[in-house]
């Protein structure tokens, strides 16, 4: 039980872009417990999605995993045949429900696909299980809807179909990459509800990737905060909100709108995440950080443990001195 289900160690993913090699994900490590829920949070361009795609090796042709290990239940995914793991042991839900389903195949067949691909059951049973899964994710009249094509459904319904397809083999891990970002607020809540219920019913561990701290607060137990391709903080969700250890996390928390102080202008972290071609030396957040000192722009800060369940990569925890 102490064995983590997923363990990512020192992951660096490189892309060929023009003549140069860029690394949108660098030296990223985290782990997910059996049945646990981990959130990966950060702004656009922080490397969250590339991290997720790296785990399942769904990266485009121009990218490759440069260093690092991805252990799933003790086996290195680099050496395992990925097609046998994808869909069966690890399911994935993407951000864009409108374009993530094949327009020429019936949704029932798409949901059932993992079952038949992995020879888990004969086609007739796969169809029945797909319909059952569609019912569980809250599609009314699933027998009839299974015959529909994606264009006959709304975004929220398509995302339910995506979730059903990702969970139909009862994988032990679900990676959800911004599953609610493209949806209306009311639909977002429903989708999160479905994910939560599915996790309880099936015991699936979840890696939830989001830029929305509100989603993090109500969904996961532990959080990894990424900035410009690096992990800047990891913490249990209570510590993160009560006592953020990295100035970037503090900035993200301040940028969340709150109900009580509607008067105040919403806080914005000044500047933008730099593109991978222009990651600064030292701490990558330093150019946007109000607390930055000279050391920050020169040396990459180490991860400093703040408590058994929290650590942050920031020089302020060493008094801005190299240990």
């Amino acid at each position: 039980m102490n064995n983590p289900l997923l363990q990512v160690e020192g992951l660096t993913t490189a892309f060929r872009a023009g003549g140069a090699l860029i690394r949108p994900v660098q030296d990223v490590s985290f782990s997910v417990a059996q049945g646990g829920a981990l959130g990966i949070v950060g702004e656009s361009g922080s490397g969250k999605s590339v991290t997720a795609l790296s785990i399942l090796r769904l990266l485009p042709d121009t990218a490759r995993i440069e260093t690092g290990r991805i252990l799933f239940d003790g086996t290195d995914l680099a050496t395992a045949g990925m097609t046998s793991v994808r869909g069966r042991d690890i399911g994935m839900v993407f951000q864009e429900p409108m374009t993530s389903l094949n327009p020429v195949l019936r949704v029932g067949d798409q949901v059932a696909e993992s079952l038949t691909l992995h020879n888990i059951c004969p086609p007739a049973e796969a169809r029945a299980r797909a319909i059952d899964m569609l019912r569980r994710v809250g599609l009314s009249d699933p027998e009839r809807r299974a015959q529909d094509y994606p264009h006959q459904m709304s975004g929220g319904m398509r995302q339910r179909v995506m979730i059903a397809g990702a969970l139909v083999c009862r994988p032990r891990l679900l990676i959800a990459d911004e599953p609610t970002t493209a949806l209306d607020v009311t639909i977002q809540a429903q989708i999160l509800d479905i994910l939560r219920r599915m996790r309880a019913e099936l015991g699936t561990a979840i890696v939830l990737i989001t830029h929305d701290l509100g989603v993090i607060a109500e969904f996961v137990e532990s959080v990894v905060v990424m900035y410009a391709g690096r992990v800047v903080e990891r913490a249990d969700v209570a510590s993160l909100f009560r006592n953020p250890g990295h100035p970037y996390t503090t900035g993200l928390l301040r940028a969340v709108p709150r109900l009580h102080d509607v008067q105040r202008r919403l806080y914005q972290i000044p500047g933008n995440v730099p593109p991978p071609t222009r990651f600064p030396p030292g701490c990558r957040f330093a150019p946007r950080c109000a607390e930055a000192r000279p050391i920050c722009t020169e040396h990459v800060p180490p991860e400093i443990a703040l408590s058994p369940s929290q650590s942050a990569a920031c020089w302020k925890h060493t008094g801005f001195a190299r240990p």
């Binding site: 769904l58 994808r86 993530s100 327009p103 993992s114």
Partner: protein, 313 residues
């Protein structure tokens, strides 16, 4: 689906009517007197007048138009000026040769072109891709009549594997006569199809739902043939439609090269002999073929892409 097909069919009928009207007026404004063309320079003015009266050429134009439409509706194409044969029978004899050629060429083109396009796309940037692209470029550059003559010289004259000319009699003999012309047109079609399939497939393979299929554990074979190809074929089918239409006219030169007694041959000999009714009927039949091909393509789209069934009403 049924409503979609009905709508397409109504469109097709409307097109046929427009084509008939166009052919009717085109034949009337063309220079030259049909009576002179039919009877020759030596005919007396009485003879010419009698012929015009017989053919209804003195009737007011609207009346001629109605007669023309009525004749076409009954598939009555009249008689040839030159031979006096019924044109309907003439065309009915010729049409199968042309249709068989077009159909066979399309089969050859699809059977070679689609797999070649898939191989090229899935091996992008590798030698298989370059070879496929080079060959297809070659296929597109060669004029059909030249390729036909080339094949004729090599496979019919030198190697004596196939007949040199004619349409053949009996099923096997007809098939034997069909091979070289069908391969000729098929090679050009394959070149065209391969390029279209390649670019379309490459485009589709970048889509989000392809990533989803991979995330479900689909091996590359399933990703390409089940998920990508069907989406990629939509523009290819469009290309087919356009290509078959150009091939129908292309079949005229190919029929001449291989001396097939097809529609093209009938049309060309009709033009050369100034046999107006034959030319008129030939044009109508060609136009009908175009309309039928278009209708078939529309139905095919709907079968491939369920979205079209609702969107394109």
């Amino acid at each position: 689906m049924r409503r979609y097909i009905t709508n397409r069919a109504v469109d097709a009928l409307l097109t046929v009517w427009l084509v008939l009207t166009l052919v009717f007026f085109a034949m009337r404004v063309l220079p030259g007197d049909p009576a002179v063309a039919a009877l020759g320079d030596q005919a007396s003015s009485d003879q010419l007048e009698a012929f015009r009266a017989l053919m209804g050429l003195n009737d007011p134009l609207p009346l001629q138009y109605v007669h023309f439409l009525w004749d076409m509706l009954r598939l009555d194409f009249g008689t040839s000026f030159r031979t006096g044969d019924r044109i309907g029978a003439l065309l009915a004899g010729a049409l199968p040769y042309t249709l068989q050629l077009a159909f066979a060429a399309m089969l050859v083109g699809a059977a070679i072109g689609i797999p070649a396009g898939v191989v090229a796309a899935t091996n992008r940037g590798r030698s298989a891709d370059y070879i496929a692209r080079l060959l297809s470029l070659l296929g597109l550059c060669i004029p059909e009549f030249y390729l036909g003559a080339l094949l004729l010289i090599v496979f019919a004259l030198r190697l004596d594997l196939f007949p040199i000319m004619g349409g053949g009699a009996g099923f096997l003999d007809r098939l034997n006569h069909l091979v070289l012309p069908a391969v000729t047109l098929g090679i050009v079609m394959a070149a065209f199809t391969a390029r279209l399939t390649r670019s379309s497939l490459l485009e589709v393979l970048r889509r989000d739902y392809i990533r989803t299929a991979r995330a479900r554990g689909a091996p590359e074979r399933v990703v390409v043939w089940r998920h990508a190809l069907r989406n990629a074929l939509i523009p290819v089918v469009t290309g087919f439609g356009i290509y078959i239409l150009t091939m129908l006219s292309g079949s005229i030169s190919i029929e001449l090269v291989f001396a097939r007694p097809g529609l093209g041959t009938v049309l060309v000999s009709g033009i050369l002999a100034r046999d107006y009714p034959v030319v008129q009927a030939g044009l109508v039949v060609f136009a009908l073929c175009v309309v039928v091909v278009n209708l078939t393509m529309d139905v095919l789209y709907a079968l491939i892409d369920p979205r079209i069934r609702v969107e394109a009403l």
